[in-house]
């Protein structure tokens, strides 16, 4: 459409603003969560996450080293030298002063005149030099009021706490792998089944095909909550009980209508000639499916895989009903976060870290596969 002369819309700026707002809306909490997860509890309680990205300004009082022990004679004068921060460059001196009434009297590197030839110099990296005569360089060390900039400070401590500590506030690593154990088979199994079904519904002629398709469309609108209790009773009755097998089966069942619908609509749009030609070429239905349909349906398969994976990854309800038992060995991340909210509700750094652990994989999946997502969603609407 961009190439058609004269159709550049006057609303293009509205589009741009909307995009910018959407991006900001999405980025602000996500980046905030990421930054917060690397800060300590103290930092979180004193400043917002955005402040963590810039050097913090701190006002501190330092004293020069005790002159009686540290002074060095230079002729009739004496010098005390050292670093207020202990080691050079730990922080950065922005401004400083020698009186509590004027703490910003000097910039870093300037020489402060204390009268009668007594001087003190403070460099940006915290090195000072205090000079004067025998009388002046004695007693207590000269005070320096320093406004220092501390570089941003981050810690990975939260992650080790959340991931590897057993007990309350920890155990996310185990929950992470449990969630993977749920999500991956719960994504692959429905795709396997649905792609076969979709091919049959799209390209094989058999009586009742239209009715079956209608039934699939009908199932799309049935809320899964309806089936929770009967299905759990069934699982318990036939001996599956609560466990991975049960939750895989449940996710498969709940995902199938959408999967079949999506894939069938995509496959039915593939050119008929290609399939007929393959048939004339001597391919069986199974060969057509494996060698022609599956490779050509890859965008649709990928986009459904993303949907199903995100949905099973973020699922709490189905896991609670079909998976998590009293032992807590099979807890998933969503459940773990709910527990953290209860036991460690005040520890924002823990919650932020746990939340980020749980959104990391969906983010990764989304960014790696997003072109298939868009292509798959548009599948069938644009040829």
């Amino acid at each position: 459409m961009d190439n058609i002369a004269g159709t550049k819309s006057g609303l293009i700026w509205a589009v741009h603003i909307t995009v910018a707002v959407l991006v900001a809306l999405w980025l602000f909490p996500t980046v905030g969560l990421l930054v917060s997860s690397f800060r300590t509890a103290d930092q979180i309680s004193t400043s917002g996450w955005w402040a963590a990205l810039f050097p913090a300004e701190i006002n501190e009082v330092y004293r020069a080293a005790a002159p009686d022990d540290n002074r060095i004679a230079e002729g009739d004068r004496f010098v005390v030298a050292g670093n207020v921060f202990g080691q050079a460059g730990a922080k950065e001196v922005l401004v400083w002063g020698v009186s509590s009434r004027a703490i910003d009297a000097y910039r870093a590197g300037e020489v402060a005149d204390l009268g009668d030839g007594e001087t003190i110099t403070l460099l940006a990296d915290g090195t000072y030099e205090w000079r004067g005569n025998d009388d002046q360089i004695s007693g207590r060390g000269q005070r320096m009021f320093v406004t220092a900039g501390a570089p941003p400070e981050f810690t990975t401590g939260n992650y080790s706490t959340v991931l590897f500590t057993e007990g309350s506030g920890g155990g996310m690593a185990k929950a992470f792998f449990n969630t993977l154990t749920v999500s991956i088979p719960a994504t692959i199994i429905p795709i396997l089944i649905a792609s076969f079904a979709a091919y049959a519904l799209a390209w094989m002629e058999f009586p009742g095909r239209a009715l079956l398709i209608a039934a699939v469309v009908g199932l799309l609108v049935v809320p899964l909550q309806l089936a929770l209790i009967p299905l759990l009773k069934l699982h318990l009755g036939i001996g599956i009980g609560k466990g991975y097998l049960g939750v895989w089966l449940a996710h498969t069942g709940f995902g199938l209508p959408l999967a079949i619908y999506l894939l069938r609509n995509y496959m039915v749009g593939l050119p008929r000639d290609i399939i007929e030609n393959a048939r004339v070429d001597g391919a069986t239905d199974f060969q057509i499916f494996v060698r022609i349909i599956l490779p050509l349906s890859f965008p649709a398969l990928a986009s459904f895989a993303i949907f199903q994976f995100l949905w099973t990854w973020n699922d709490l309800l189905v896991a609670l009903v079909f998976l998590i038992d009293a032992t807590g060995e099979t807890t998933v991340m969503t459940k773990q976060i709910v527990e953290l909210l209860g036991t460690r509700g005040g520890n924002w750094e823990i919650l932020a870290t746990a939340a980020f652990v749980s959104i990391a994989v969906p983010l990764l999946v989304f960014f790696v596969m997003q072109r298939y997502l868009v292509r798959g969603l548009l599948a069938g609407s644009v040829k």
């Binding site: 000639d273 030609n277 048939r279 004339v280 070429d281 391919a283 060698r291 490779p295």
Partner: protein
């Protein structure tokens, strides 16, 4: 022996009958063209031979075997589609070898056959490319190459050239003719373009409304059409048809030509019966003379020109002129023709009178 025989072939879609008992005999090695206006059932008939449409009644046999109920793969046919139907995710080589691979042919043999087919069609430089990276003509060549690779008894072409531009179409037409000479296999070719039909065919089957109107060699159909439809369909521009009445023994009066009477040796019906007079544009000439017929406009194609004439009855006549004699539009002209080359048709059932 790989001739194709259709006997009483009937196709119904539900209650709708689209093929009405077609009987056809296609010899081994013959190039047979199905031609007809769109919707005449020519593609359906081809798909019935391919096995892509079930034959409702009647029989189809290929090379003496009855294949009426056989799977497409068992019929020994290869089909070339209008849309090429290449597998987009495979290279040219894989596309061409797909059929053989499906039948479990050893890899070395597949490779050899693909190479040979690629040689015939000069496709060697493109073997590693995907169809996306080919032009329309190359794609069509790959589609044909795919058919050759399988070495079928019968090639089926479903309007293979209609997606190509005019220049490429001529080129591919020659290529297909050359291919037929080289391979010598039976080929069935569907087209609505009568030029393709005339140039390629050993045998043309003219279809209309699911019925065979006439079968014959191209020139036979041109020179000796059975009925008004075939006469009008074969030849370009189409035959001129004028209403006439039998005005005496061996005489037909044509009002469009100023009540001119045409003498003929063909057996005519009774006096005053309506007949249709057919005149090919190629057999006509014009000269300026006082006449009710006037020149409306002239189309110049270079070598020849077409004069569109208005007649007093409102019927149009097209005349093919060699050269470019200057006759102004609107001028009165007389139409010249050889009375040996006039066709007469029964106005009732449109059959040729002969």
């Amino acid at each position: 022996m790989s001739g194709v025989t259709l006997s009483k072939a009937i196709k119904r879609f539900g209650d709708l009958q689209v093929i009405h008992g077609v009987d056809l005999e296609i010899e081994d090695g013959e190039f047979c063209v199905f031609v007809g206006p769109s919707g005449c059932g020519k593609s359906t008939l081809l798909r019935m031979i391919a096995g892509l449409e079930e034959t409702t009644e009647g029989h189809i046999s290929i090379g003496g075997r009855d294949v009426t109920r056989a799977d497409p793969a068992e019929r020994g046919v290869a089909m070339v589609f209008q849309t090429y139907a290449l597998y987009p995710h495979m290279t040219v080589e894989e596309n061409m070898g797909f059929g053989l691979k499906m039948t479990g042919t050893p890899k070395a043999e597949v490779k050899e056959k693909v190479t040979r087919a690629a040689e015939i069609l000069q496709l060697q430089p493109y073997l590693k490319r995907k169809p996306k990276a080919l032009s329309g003509g190359q794609r069509q060549r790959v589609a044909i190459g795919r058919a050759i690779t399988r070495g079928p008894e019968v090639f089926l072409f479903d309007e293979p050239l209609s997606n190509l531009d005019a220049e490429l179409r001529v080129e591919m037409r020659v290529e297909i003719a050359r291919l037929h000479k080289e391979i010598g296999a039976t080929m069935i070719y569907v087209t609505h373009d009568q030029v393709e039909a005339m140039t390629l065919a050993d045998k043309i089957v003219v279809l209309r409304g699911g019925r065979v109107e006439q079968v014959g060699r191209p020139m036979q159909l041109y020179q000796n059409p059975d009925n008004v439809f075939v006469a009008g369909f074969i030849g370009s521009p189409g035959m001129n048809f004028l209403r006439g009445t039998v005005s005496g023994p061996g005489k037909v009066r044509v009002p469009a030509l100023g009540d001119q009477e045409i003498k003929t040796g063909v057996p005519l019906p009774d006096m005053n019966t309506a007949v249709i007079v057919g005149l090919r544009p190629q057999d006509l000439g014009v000269h300026q003379a006082a006449s009710p017929v006037t020149v409306e406009l002239r189309e110049r194609l270079g070598g020849v020109a077409y004069d569109y004439l208005n007649t007093p009855t409102g019927e149009r006549i097209i005349v093919e002129i060699k050269g470019d004699e200057p006759i102004a539009a609107g001028a009165e002209v007389a139409v010249d023709f050889d009375r040996e080359r006039v066709f007469f048709f029964d106005a009732e059932n449109n059959r040729r009178l002969r």
